[in-house]
């Protein structure tokens, strides 16, 4: 509690009040471009010559783009514009996800390419115990509040959301905050999604093409099947299992 609560009853603010008030615009439909940055160097731990050479010849970050369209409580997330720099890089598992989320009904359909297979995960939206903080940051021009959480028992995530967007969604499978998540970081997995642009355009729900391709599964059985296939892969196997389930 102690950390919280500050009310600035400062009389000198009165002058500026007229410019705010009820004119604040709330957004309930539009498109957001997310930039995903994966730190390739941080995945390579250790200090021998091989790793040094790898780092010299590979960019530190792999940047990919996604587009999140939203209309009230429905969101549609899909790969965005192409980054030709990535033509030289390996494709990572589950990095081209297409996700349709119906936030009111807590339902999500995700299409994920994991190695040679395409999976269609039909499951409930991820329920996350968000811890709200009083830290703020401006992202893509929006004032955002920070919330932290642990998902999948051990993965620490940090989200910044704005209450100026009414849709309580976010990139990938992240949602459940009182506003749109504009930045999401998984610091120990070295990956960040940041909103770079917001288009406040009308979005028709018919634009949301609910993915239908792939082997039908649920999150629990997807985890089982990938885990058993990759059990001999050591720490990379664990990393791929995590990446596939985000």
């Amino acid at each position: 509690m102690k950390i919280f609560i500050k009310l600035f009853f400062l009389p000198l603010l009165i002058t500026s009040i007229n410019s705010y008030g009820q004119q604040t615009r709330f957004i309930s439909e539009g498109k957001i471009e997310f930039e995903k940055k994966l730190n390739l160097h941080a995945q390579m731990t250790g200090d021998d010559g091989w790793i040094t050479e790898f780092k010299k010849n590979t960019p530190q970050f792999k940047t990919t783009y996604f587009e999140l369209s939203f209309n009230n409580n429905k969101t549609f997330y899909k790969p965005g514009r192409e980054n030709t720099d990535n033509n030289r890089l390996w494709e990572q598992p589950a990095e081209n996800n297409i996700i349709y989320s119906d936030l009111d009904n807590h339902a999500a359909v995700s299409q994920k390419n994991i190695f040679e297979k395409t999976f269609l995960v039909q499951d409930s939206t991820r329920s996350i115990r968000w811890k709200i903080t009083d830290e703020t940051a401006t992202i893509a021009g929006f004032e955002c509040r920070r919330a932290n959480a642990l998902i999948m028992d051990s993965i620490y995530i940090v989200a910044y959301y704005t209450d100026a967007i009414e849709t309580p969604g976010g990139p990938e499978s992240f949602s459940g905050l009182p506003g749109m998540i504009l930045k999401l970081a998984i610091p120990h997995e070295h990956v960040i999604w940041t909103a770079t642009k917001l288009y406040a355009v009308p979005v028709n729900e018919t634009e949301f093409k609910i993915p239908a391709k792939g082997t039908k599964t649920t999150n629990a059985s997807l985890k089982e099947s990938i885990k058993s296939s990759l059990k001999a892969w050591g720490k990379w196997g664990d990393r791929y299992v995590k990446a596939a389930l985000l």
Binding site: L13, G49, N87, K131, V158
Partner: protein
């Protein structure tokens, strides 16, 4: 604006523990008290009082009203937010079934307070590098386990407010990076990992230009105040090592010592091996820990793929290095390795020194069938050998990264080898009817010194435009090889069972070879678009070599003084070439494409240094290449590669002198030998399914060579052979492999097949001979590992070899070879381990080679791990339990087929103790 109210009931599930009845509800109205206006769309969130976890939230309706139902009983924080308004937070608590009406909740707009900045000066702890202010973290005292924020608070010019917001020089810091990556302070209630103040080495504060500005190099004036925390190098310091001591029956021994000491990024290690079991150097795992990890061999291609070009060894590891199974070796070898990095890893040095002392002795027997146009010869040879080599080799690499755009790499290596050989031969040649053609004894002893010094530097620079690069690579190689020795050969030649001729060669020989080469090359890459680029290169190569070969016959006085001009020559071969070209490369997500050629002008200057006669020859050489690679689906790719290359003849092939090291096999150089040109086409397809474990690898290669180097043999009626290198056309080779891997009952199973079909041309007794050889191989593999219980595998393959020569089509060579290799490891209770591997080799007899060459080579060991962390292993091993091993080699060449058997290590038992020790180092076995 929509009238929307969303209530998240799901969240209430998470707080089931705190209450049974869930009927409490909350209502109120959000209002702007100053503006006397109710606020719609405001967020009203209910958080758990104890840890701020979000329980439920809603938004106020058009009239500013809100209601949240189904709340559990307990203590909560109500947080009300509205853009541009100050947050309102209050503690509330519900009893069961309570309906709490909060009435009006007042909200007020907020403004930003510009806090005053106090700048103090602390000398020494702060450095200013260009636009960057750098603080040394050690200079600021903080409590043990203090957070990074605590550290920043101590730094002059820096302020951290209670929200964690950092202000530097009065400007709000918008980005905090850790080693270049965006930093989010960890929530200590959720994660234990955290960056502590004592982990930070330096704090850098700078104005980060926009990505666009960094990209284009044009400053657009947009700057972000950024802090970069540079973490300290791992505070690691320690050592680890391994001692392996083994003694066995028949005087077998194997002793190894390895030690590695590390401190931050500095590593110093050494190893020593003393063994007669065939071990001559570090194995692959030990090499990474105790030797040079060969990282300079990693090659990255344009597609971002990395390849490891594992060189055939640095010389120390083949006979002229490694013991390859021929004879009985005694080895002493040692190495020293040092590497270090400094200046933020922008400079590094890597140095190695190795020495090897090896004595190998043994016996071998060689049987050869020569096919001639009109007859056949059978040649039998017995050899006894004692060879000794002492090698010293040192190398060093220095790498410097000047800035993010340019780097320089300097490599140097030098070696000194001293070699002594002694060989005795008994030879006999039989005609088709088994009558004796010739018979002889020969002894050769040599002493040789081989020295070399090589260096290279590579400078690379990225220019301002993305993808535009320039590089300059220069190499130098210098080597000398001086060998002297005695040859004594006594041969009798028979006709009809009677000696018709006796030939004695008794000579002292001295050969001196020197070579000096320079190679320099400029490469420039110009991006044409985001996906296409052109690469231009130009280079010059100079390669000057001389070979002075002298043979002296023994005089009547018993001295080797009279120069035998037939077998002596002093020759210089200088090659000058310049080469330039361009290549276009295109990389798309689905495919990549590469096409280009180099063209070269090469000049040979060949001088007989005794007669001073010089011959000059000019060549225009082409080096075309093309590559197309297409990805059919994820993890599946097909590629086609074409490569055309020019091979220059060696001085040994060119020098016009007769070499009589074996007077029955005289080799003559060919001064008019031309470069050969090889076309090679590869087709590859591979598919790897990670989840199902299925894989397919297919490769087809076709090579044809124009002006290929081949031999022209002449064998006379007394069985003496004279051969010379010549150029021939029409050599080609087709090879293919196919392998399929899958999972079956939890085991990895694989099937594979290889085929190789070739057509080689040579000249035998003035007749063109075309040899068709085919090798077909089929095999399979199965392996299963159950962790801590067993790791078993078996592989088997069958190979069929055929060969025919056009000069005697009725002589057919064909035989099968079978190989079965089980490899079994059992991990028994009590940390015992039992290992068995076996090699069943069955070689079909042929009409020429009718002796039994089947071998069952069975090795095993039994061991127990002891001590904490399994640091010690006591092991009893048995090599070749059935005492069945024979050295064996069978080769089919153009018009001759050779089988070679030799003495090799057979049965012995060895008891050894392996101890892995370490302090703060990696765990044994990792």
């Amino acid at each position: 604006m929509r009238k929307f109210l969303f209530v998240f009931l799901a969240m209430t599930l998470l707080v089931l523990s705190s209450a049974e009845a869930q009927k409490a509800s909350l209502r109120g109205t959000i209002t702007d008290t100053l503006n006397k206006q109710n606020l719609s769309h405001a967020v009203i969130a209910v958080l758990q009082a104890k840890d701020s976890v979000l329980v439920n939230f809603t938004r106020s309706d058009a009239k500013g009203h809100f209601e949240i139902t189904n709340l559990p009983a307990g203590k909560f924080v109500l947080l009300t937010c509205y853009p541009s308004y100050a947050d309102f937070a209050d503690t509330i608590s519900f009893k069961e079934n309570e309906v709490l009406d909060l009435g009006m909740i007042p909200m007020i707009t907020k403004a930003h307070l510009l806090e005053e900045v106090v700048v103090k000066q602390t000398v020494g702890a702060i450095r200013i590098k260009g636009d960057t202010i750098e603080y040394r973290a050690d200079s600021f005292k903080v409590q043990a386990n203090a957070s990074v924020e605590d550290l920043l608070k101590k730094m002059p010019g820096m302020q951290v407010d209670k929200n964690g917001q950092i202000t530097a020089s009065g400007v709000r810091v918008q980005k905090v990076l850790v080693d270049g990556e965006e930093f989010f302070g960890d929530d200590p209630t959720l994660v234990t990992q955290n960056i502590r103040a004592d982990m930070v080495d330096k704090v850098q504060v700078f104005d980060k230009k926009s990505d666009q500005a960094t990209f284009t190099g044009i400053d657009d004036g947009q700057k972000t105040k950024t802090i970069n925390l540079k973490l300290k190098d791992d505070k690691k310091k320690g050592y680890f090592g391994k001692i392996d001591a083994g003694a066995g029956t028949n005087n077998f021994y194997n002793r190894e010592l390895m030690f590695n000491k590390f401190r931050k990024k500095e590593k110093i290690s050494f190893y020593g091996i003393h063994s007669n079991t065939g071990k001559t150097g570090l194995n692959w795992q030990d090499k990474r820990s105790f030797g040079d990890d060969n990282s300079s061999n990693i090659v990255f291609d344009d597609g971002g793929n990395s390849f490891v070009s594992v060189s055939a060894g640095d010389g120390l590891e083949s006979w002229d290095g490694n013991y390859n199974g021929l004879g009985y070796p005694k080895v002493k070898t040692a190495g020293l390795h040092y590497n270090n990095k400094w200046a933020d890893d922008n400079q590094s040095i890597n140095g190695n020194y190795k020495m090897l002392d090896m004595i190998v002795n043994g016996k071998s027997a060689t049987n050869t069938q020569y096919i001639l146009p009109d007859t056949l010869y059978y040649n039998n040879q017995k050899q006894t050998f004692t060879n000794q080599i002492t090698k010293n080799k040192g190398n060093a690499t220095y790498d410097i990264q000047f800035d993010s755009t340019s780097s320089l790499k300097i490599l140097m290596d030098g070696s000194f080898d001293h070699k002594l050989t002694y060989n005795e031969y008994y030879t006999e040649a039989l005609a088709r009817d088994s009558s004796l053609v010739n018979q002889g004894n020969r002894k050769i002893s040599t002493t040789g010194d081989i020295n070399g010094f090589n260096s290279s530097f590579l400078w690379r620079k990225k220019l301002k435009k993305k993808g535009r690069t320039i590089s300059w690579n220069t190499k130098q190689n210098y080597s000398t090889n001086t060998t002297s020795g005695f040859l004594y050969a006594d041969n009798n030649f028979y006709r009809g069972g009677a000696v018709v001729q006796n030939q004695i060669t008794d000579q002292y020989k001295k050969d001196e070879n020197k070579s000096l080469a320079f190679d320099t090359k400029f490469t420039y890459t110009e991006p044409l678009s985001k996906i296409a680029s052109m690469v231009f290169n130009y280079g010059i190569t100079i390669n000057n070599s001389t070979s002075n070969r002298s043979s002296f016959n023994k005089s009547a006085a018993g001295k080797y003084e009279a120069l035998d001009t037939v077998y002596s020559n002093n020759y210089q071969f200088n090659i000058f070439s310049q080469k330039g070209g361009a290549a276009l490369s295109l990389i798309k997500k689905k495919y990549s494409f590469n096409l280009g050629t180099n063209v070269g002008y090469t000049q040979f200057v060949q001088t007989d240094l005794k007669s001073n006669i010089t011959a000059k020859r000019d060549f225009v050489n082409w080096y075309p290449n093309a590559n197309f690679s297409y990805s059919l689906a994820s993890q599946s790719r097909v590629s086609v590669t074409y490569n055309g290359s020019t091979l220059q003849p060696s001085l040994q092939q060119i020098q016009p002198v007769r070499t009589n090291d074996d007077p029955l096999n005289i080799v003559i150089g060919n001064a008019s030998l031309q470069p050969s040109f090889r076309n090679s086409i590869n087709l590859n397809y591979n598919k790897f399914q990670a989840l199902s474990g299925r894989s397919i690898w297919l490769g087809i290669n076709y090579t044809n060579t124009n002006n290929a180097f081949a031999t022209k043999d002449f064998v006379d009626s007394l069985g003496r052979r004279v051969s010379q290198s010549i150029n021939v056309d029409g050599n080609h080779n087709l090879s293919g492999y196919l392998s399929y891997g899958f999972k079956l009952f939890g085991a990895n199973v694989g099937l594979n097949s290889n085929i190789n079909s070739s057509r080689y041309v040579n000249v035998v007794n003035r007749k063109e001979n075309i040899t068709y050889s085919n090798v077909y191989s089929f095999g399979g593999y199965a392996g299963k590992t159950v962790e801590k219980i067993y790791a078993n595998s078996i592989s088997a393959n069958a190979t069929y070899t055929t060969s025919t020569s056009s000069i005697q089509k009725n002589v057919l060579t064909h035989y099968w070879t079978y190989n079965i290799r089980p490899d079994l490891d059992f991990f028994l209770p009590g940390k015992f381990q039992l290992h068995n591997d076996c090699d069943f080799i069955f070689r079909e007899k042929t009409s020429v080679f009718d002796n039994n060459n089947n071998v069952i080579l069975w090795n095993a060991w039994f061991g127990k791990k002891l001590l904490k962390g399994d640091a010690m292993l006591i092991k009893l091993s048995a090599n070749d339990i059935l005492n069945n091993n024979i050295g064996f080699n069978r080769t089919v060449n153009t018009n001759y087929i050779t089988q070679n058997t030799y003495s090799t290590i057979q049965r012995y038992y060895l008891l050894s103790v392996v101890w892995n020790f370490n302090k703060n180092g990696p765990k044994p076995g990792q």
